[in-house]
Symmetry: C2
Subunit: 337 residues, 2 copies
Amino acid sequence: MEISHPYLLFLGDVPDALAAKTGLGIVDWRKEWCVGQFRLDGCKADAKLPDMTPSEAAGKGARTMVVGAVNAGGVLPDHWVESIVAALEAGMDVASGLHMRLGDVPAIRDTAVRTGRRLFDVRHSSERFATGKGTKRSGKRLLTVGTDCSVGKKYAALALEKGMKDQGFDADFRATGQTGVFISGRGVALDAVVADFISGAAEWISPEADDAHWDVIEGQGSLYHPSFAGVTLGLLHGSQPDAFVVCHEPTRKTMRGVATPLASIQEVIDLTIRCGQLTNPTIRCVGIAINTAALDEDEAKTLLEKTSADHGLPATDPVRFGVEAIVERIGKEFGNP
Amino acid sequence: MEISHPYLLFLGDVPDALAAKTGLGIVDWRKEWCVGQFRLDGCKADAKLPDMTPSEAAGKGARTMVVGAVNAGGVLPDHWVESIVAALEAGMDVASGLHMRLGDVPAIRDTAVRTGRRLFDVRHSSERFATGKGTKRSGKRLLTVGTDCSVGKKYAALALEKGMKDQGFDADFRATGQTGVFISGRGVALDAVVADFISGAAEWISPEADDAHWDVIEGQGSLYHPSFAGVTLGLLHGSQPDAFVVCHEPTRKTMRGVATPLASIQEVIDLTIRCGQLTNPTIRCVGIAINTAALDEDEAKTLLEKTSADHGLPATDPVRFGVEAIVERIGKEFGNP
């Protein structure tokens, strides 16, 4: 799926910023793609974009309204339907990350058919994938992996794409989750793919490329997370990364949503190499990204220095201190542009 | 899903026995559930059951017609539709392992609605799963794992269920593939589950049970197969097995369908323990099942003796020499009934 930009972000009437995190994530990384936000009365989220209606946005060139908010349960509230219909009537496509399909609502489906506009449900890939083949593809690949879910794998991949481009690398972010798909305009929400096709979908996400080209692939889950490790392993095999970066949140004691103790950074490095060698025998770790938001600046620097020394790898907080050290390591290991 | 038996096996007009392997597998293990077979002109498969029409089968008590054959592509040929409609009209449910949903054919869907009969598409689970939790459940579990796909994991699990029952164990086969679902009347075709729910579905398949009860769980894929390892890992985490048996085919050089070299039995043992410890710290290997069909009897015995000595584990061909040695090992390690 290729979603056309510029976007109008629909934030509905969500009660807080967290419920609009998809929309806010798009603004963080692709503000230049966003012409405005469309909010209903009572909306408590604010993407700091000009407020406008769908017809105003269409007049400013917006081509897709992104439903960048969720309410509890991921269902589409009835009172959002009219806004989505209005966007279609104004000539825009509509893209959604809700669990429920837009086309399952008759008023939306009928309007889309009548106006000839496209509906994108990024949680429901309509792409048909082959099963993974495991054969080596040309081009280079970096995958972010994690000690847990929600430790900054998407952020690290986007920061690395930007940092590599700044140094002259030919690099493209490859999305594997719904927010990432909106940020890149293409990709697959891998957790929604049928299990048999996980690694096949991952192969599709990062196709053959020039030898000097880097795909910077958004990781999912953790090999040590008992809910999602299957997705993580299929993504690892399909991505066949040359390099990986481990993402970590140092204050977490158990895996997100379960009672399983957090794995160590070293365990994740070891198991990623062991499993990743199946499709890329030269896979290696090139850095560690730590979310230090819970630490003050001195604590953060001390932790990063210790982590770097312990593992013999660059360690940084991409948000706080950038990714230059990891990009430098990539250049040393694989050659600079 | 709970599929009612006795079954009528529908074999269509397939060109060879391989295309009817689902039906033949059901007869191998649940002949007492099968009242007959229904074949169209030109059918080259034979389950060695009495040939009969749907209405004859219904008269003999059949409650479900199982579409136990596939044609190329897994689609439903138009000329099979009338047979399926006839089964519904005769008062039977219809269950299918085809990729295509029975209910997507209007004539079938309309007849099922009108007659009040059920349609089962075992490749499309309608069950809603939670994500895996990773918490320990009561009862004991054995999982068959493999150096590759199609090395006898289902057969080994069914043979172990039978062998354990023969020794007085309270044991139940748990199906994770389509043929297994027909054989047990319930279960989930795990490869058809959405990726986020693989381990959750595996947890659902083997729920809490008495401490002395064994679930004998059909394995899928291989941790070393680049197409399907994600399914294998999710199944391992969700099954949280106390014991596992490695299945192997000694003449294979590469993984089925891909160019990846076959992993060794020892590699599979090591990685299964390493990953399986996440949800069951005491996981251990209790035996090796080798498909020796390509070897003569002396070669087979020599290979099994060598494999047993190399790994310090019972090694057998379940088809040729039974599973007594493995059942004995299970009793020694975990207690006899």
